[in-house]
Amino acid sequence: MSYPLQPDVFNDDVKLEPIRAGFGRGLKAAGAANDKIVALCADLTESTQMHLFRNEFPSRFVEVGIAEQNLVAVAAGLARAGKIPFASSYAAFSPGRNWEQIKTTAAINNQPVKIIGSHAGVSVGPDGATHQMLEDIALMRVMPNMVVIAPGDSIEAEKATRAIAENGKPSYLRLAREKSPIFSTDESPFEIGQAYILCDGHDVSLMGTGAMSYQLLKSAHLLESVGINAEVVHVPTIKPLDDATILDSARRCGRVITAEEAQIKGGFGGAIAELLSEKMPTPLKRIGMQDRYGESGEPNELLDYFGLTAEKMVDVITDFVHNTPKYHQEY
């Protein structure tokens, strides 16, 4: 089954929208479908797009102020009272500041508290390193019971929001501030725990999460001209990981590249490295933040500077394919 892509996905004027906008629409729709859904924010209601829900359901919205520890623990109390709380802030602050409260009150309790980390990644831009959350994937995927999702675009973010509203689990949704290309369609599938092959290939498997999946898709398109046939696997759910799809792609391609707008250590690349090294050792190259913090700059400047654009990735992928023999060993 092929994954439906936007017809203009390889055009220069591909349609753009912030991933967080899809969350805002998804939460409003989820709220209309289930009156147990409530929302909390720590003084960033419009930034995180929660105002759409607040304006529609004011009695189900709670302003917590700039207090992220309280944000998530109040959410846990609401969950105990039978609600399905969505708690939003910038990822730098939640889960950046309140990890222990998330662990104790949401994850060990195994309650359906939804942590919405907006403005993740270097593409936050001029705000600089303190606001560019790069460690959230590592922080959240290490937590038992926690579901971790980084949607690829705004359409998928809407679907992911609807899905975590009804999954009954503590869940983390990673969102970004800047406009990013829309590659999926209303008809594209999304299920928690599923990875999707965006295009088939056999020379290398390019595995991405969040908006980096688009950059890999574009890379694969550019690589055709140099005779490299790349497969692209979009992995929106980082936990639980779709082991079967990932291992099957690695087996068929014999080389794997991962890409994320986050620390590769402990992040998505870390998750793929763990899986491959245990189940099917395969040559791997991880694109992402290489154990350093970001810095101020314009979003596109920063993505380019840190090698997170298709144009930069193409060189890395070409070099990897030409200098790495295909190899895997099945255990």
């Binding site: 109040v74 846990a76 109390g77 009272a81 409260q101």
Partner: protein, 289 residues
């Protein structure tokens, strides 16, 4: 449920809870002694008078809610729950053992009757606030209350004051917080480690109604909770002055007993003291009825 117990009988319950605590800690060979002993009277009042609960139906939808924020004092809650009939008293001796439902710090999913998981300090008041917010602003529930027990050392945590501000803002009047004001924490006296006074003024300035009581006088505990339920325009906090280790003279007032369990000789001695006391923590009258 057991609102009919007399004060004298409640004091006897508190003494039973203290004996349970000593036996549990001795068997566990680790854990916290001072806090649980100091809270025994408050928990006897909660489980046998104040809380509207059904031990045979822990998830009863009409129940009052109790969050234990300072999770390290959990032996007192386990003992009170066993005395109230949530589970068999024999199970108390599994405290802290592999496979036990009675974890060293409480875990909600393991033991019906617990409302949350705690241990890391400072987040119980937030959870109580979330629950009370749902009652007051979303579900229009007026006849249930959310109790939360906190330690005084725990008030060092910033999270507590975030929640205090939140509950004050939203006038969450169904919250009844109890601060175990025993003046000790691990490194010494609370006023040496990080001064809390003027504690009453602090809470009042956050928009709370403050009640201050002798936490070993069960009648006072019951009266304060009743008063707090009658305050309908802001949350209430009961500052309960207690003696850490209360009932076991060699543990009383000594911060070194905060995080230590008695060995078997000490436990034997402690049980002897408690039996001699016969529940006479505040009551100076005749013996057992």
């Amino acid at each position: 449920m057991s609102g009919q117990l007399t004060i004298r009988q409640l004091e006897q319950k508190a003494n039973d809870i203290r004996e349970d605590i000593i036996r549990m800690l001795e068997a566990a060979r680790s854990g916290h002694s001072a806090g649980p002993l100091g809270l025994a009277d408050i928990f006897a009042a909660l489980y046998f008078n104040i809380l509207n609960i059904d031990p045979k139906n822990p998830e009863w939808p009409e129940r009052d809610i109790l969050f234990l924020s300072n999770g390290h004092t959990i032996p007192v809650q386990y003992a009170a729950m066993a005395e109230a009939g949530y589970f068999d008293k024999d199970e108390l001796l599994t405290l802290r053992k592999l496979g036990s439902r009675l974890q060293g710090h409480p875990e909600r999913e393991r033991l019906p009757g617990l409302e949350s998981t705690s241990g890391p300090l400072g987040s119980g008041l937030s959870q109580a606030s979330g629950y009370a917010y749902a009652m007051q602003y979303m579900d229009n529930i007026k006849h249930r209350f959310v109790y939360v027990v906190m330690g005084d050392g725990e008030l060092d945590e910033g999270n507590i004051w975030e929640a205090a501000m939140f509950a004050g803002k939203y006038k969450l009047s169904q919250i009844i917080a109890i601060v175990d004001r025993n003046n000790i924490q691990i490194d010494g006296s609370t006023e040496d480690v990080m001064p809390l006074e003027d504690l009453r003024e602090k809470w009042e300035s956050f928009g709370w109604h403050v009640l201050e009581i002798d936490g070993h006088n069960i009648e006072s505990v019951i009266d304060a909770a009743s008063m707090a339920r009658a305050i309908t325009n802001r949350p209430s906090v009961i500052i309960a002055h207690t003696i850490p280790g209360k009932g076991v003279d060699f543990m009383e007032y000594d911060y070194k007993w905060h995080g230590v369990a008695p060995n078997s000789d000490q436990a034997k001695e402690a049980l002897k003291k408690l039996r001699t006391l016969d529940g006479k923590i505040t009551f100076e009258g005749a013996g057992v009825e």
